[in-house]
């Protein structure tokens, strides 16, 4: 393993063009350029205003239920042969880390005088979180969701409608997350003056990858403090040896990595093997930024495939591409069957049913257990698994019909 670059500039602010190294930027239709610039100015102003930050943190505490705890998994540790800690984002209101970002962005939208939120969603977690924030703050909300995903995650569609949001089917292309992003961007191009685009991951044009990271930084900041207390100064200075998170667009991973980028902790992102944008290392431009992108020989964007709808995205946030390129984080592929194993292992040994997304992180840990022997490993438990139990049941029962319906 190469030496870890733990300089403070790692995971600092992007440059004035919104770049992390060579990745990022603002590749949007001209119509949206002024809106992105306006958003950047508004975010910079709000993020330096103690009033705004207090309002955000009050909501995170009183509404989302932060801080989320760090749980030591004694049973799993005994089984795997290394110390396993979980950052419990699954215990947040709405059941995942996504609430951090949407509360931040919805507050900012309101501050900017926008009356309507538009969002994309894959599995529905970000859509539900956005619908929740819109309900709380009294804003209109339109969520684009691929038609295929609407079938796979029908309950989340109902949740969003219950929360007062409009859900619109994205009917183009593969009718999944990438097409929902296309539709949300098209909507935003046409309604940019009144509408705020509440993007759900650390992707998109500058300032989104940076801003969304800042709203999720609370995950890493809390975990850093909690680990210091739990581990004590004698255990690698209170820092876990390895920090693990799943990576689709990469928002939960960026959130937890940001708390440990300046330490000697190894940072590991687990990607679905058929959605491993970082693993393939081919740069490309889609949805507003340059990053690693799954594409064919002509540059057409390919469809990702994963048992987890939340990781079913052919790109990845530009800062992950940068962290991979400078060697500060590594990205490892795991297969769907390894994920299903890990999902059951976590449920059985700890009484915690994980979402399929963070089960990717655990799947890597199981695979790498020889390398991890004797170490302390912090996994970001980015969401709870309630949404996935029907799908996993169908997989385990070999219920082909039910799976076809869910995967369409």
């Amino acid at each position: 393993m190469t030496a870890i670059d733990a300089s403070p500039s790692v995971m600092g602010d992007p440059d004035e063009n919104g770049r992390f190294g060579r990745f990022g930027g603002r590749y949007v239709p001209e119509t949206l350029v002024p809106a992105c610039a306006e958003l950047e100015d508004a975010f910079r102003e709000a993020w330096s205003d103690p009033e705004f930050i207090k309002e955000f943190h009050d909501l995170l505490r009183d509404y989302a239920g932060r801080p989320s705890p760090v749980t030591e998994c004694h049973n799993l540790s005994a089984e795997l042969g290394f110390r396993v800690l979980l950052k419990r984002e699954d215990l947040n209101h709405t059941g995942s880390h996504k609430i951090n970002n949407v509360l931040g962005q919805a507050l900012l939208a309101k501050r900017m005088g926008k009356t309507r939120l538009v969002a994309e969603t894959g599995a529905g977690q970000h859509g539900v979180a956005t619908a929740t924030a819109a309900a709380l703050l009294g804003m209109e909300c339109i969520v684009f969701m691929g038609e295929v995903d609407m079938k796979r995650q029908a309950l989340n569609v109902f949740r969003m409608r219950l929360l007062g949001s409009e859900v619109r089917a994205a009917m183009s292309g593969s009718r999944t997350l990438k097409d929902a992003v296309n539709e949300a961007m098209r909507y935003w191009v046409a309604a940019v003056e009144s509408t705020y685009y509440c993007l759900g991951s650390v992707m998109g044009p500058h300032p989104y990858p940076w801003m969304v990271r800042e709203f999720h930084r609370v995950i890493g900041n809390e975990a850093r403090e909690q680990c210091a207390e739990l581990l004590g100064p004698d255990s690698n200075g209170g820092v876990p040896d390895v920090v693990v998170a799943c990576v689709g667009g990469g928002s939960n991973a960026i959130g937890i990595f940001s708390g440990f980028a300046d330490t000697n902790a190894e940072l590991v992102g687990a990607e679905p093997s058929l959605g491993a944008a970082v693993g393939r290392q081919v740069p490309g431009v889609v949805h507003g930024s340059m990053s690693y992108l799954m594409q064919d020989e002509f540059g057409q964007v390919q469809e990702a495939h994963s048992v987890s709808a939340g990781l079913d995205y052919p790109g990845v946030g530009p800062e992950h591409a940068h962290l991979a390129e400078i060697g500060r984080a590594r990205y490892e592929p795991v297969t769907d069957s390894e994920v299903i194993e890990a999902f059951q292992l976590m449920s059985r040994t700890e009484g915690i049913i994980p979402a399929l997304e963070p089960a990717h992180g655990l799947a890597w840990m199981v695979k790498a257990k020889d390398e991890l022997a004797g170490k302390t490993v912090l996994l970001n438990m980015s969401g709870r698994g309630d949404k996935d139990v029907a799908q996993v049941q169908a997989i385990l029962d070999g219920d082909v019909e039910a799976l076809e319906m869910m995967r369409s």
Binding site: T31, V33, P34, N182, H287, F298, G299
Partner: protein, 268 residues
Amino acid sequence: MTVTPTTWKPGTLEASLRAKRDAGQKLLLPYVTGGYPINDWPRLIEGFASVGADAIEIGIPFSDPVMDGPTIQEASSLALGEGSNPAAVLAEVAKTDPGIPLIAMTYYNICFHMGHERFASSLKEAGISAAILPDLPLEEVEEWAAVADEHEIETVLLAAPTAPDERLPRIVSRSRGFVYGVGLVGITGERAELASSALEMARRLKDTTDLPVVIGIGVSSPEQAAEVAEVADGVVVASAIIRKMLEGGTPEDAISFVGELRAALDGV
């Protein structure tokens, strides 16, 4: 290496459009999706030229066209489904001889993935003189545009109604060939009426530059084309042409529609 505007000379497209504009002609730039309708599309190029197009936009289909509405999306998706790819589109274009400038219109990843040098030289070899990349705005365009300038490929920039006044002069000074004024706040597609923003955009650009000012997006009929050309130097028409064929019309129907657009512009 970069080529500064002072060393740069108007290319084929700009010279041709300027000459016609200065002679009092309104400019007509119809659009063809490369690969749709399969087998028939290449003859649209010479067909459009024969009924009076001044330049033709040739779309190289991309999987995720965020600036396009349902019509262009569908044509792109049908073309991709039939195996259309950038190399095949350019090879077909190279076989045509329309006698007017051709403009490639695609999204940046197609160009980036091929590599700037190779994309520019491929366009040139196909007889294409300009490129429109709608997701490559002013702040991101320089790396590509410098290479394009060297290869004498004119990079046309878009100007949108959302741009503050101070932005327009910067856009037109980097734009080559003409400046593409976005007629409305939205994506490509037909509209029942010409948006008032189209005329406003044309006025703002005419007040800013001597480059040909061409308005597109939401220009759907001969009447709308004529209306916007009262102020602008010309129009781009895309969705209205493609829809004719998506709805069962023949390439000849599309060509005769372009002829109607020509006649309407000639009446301005």
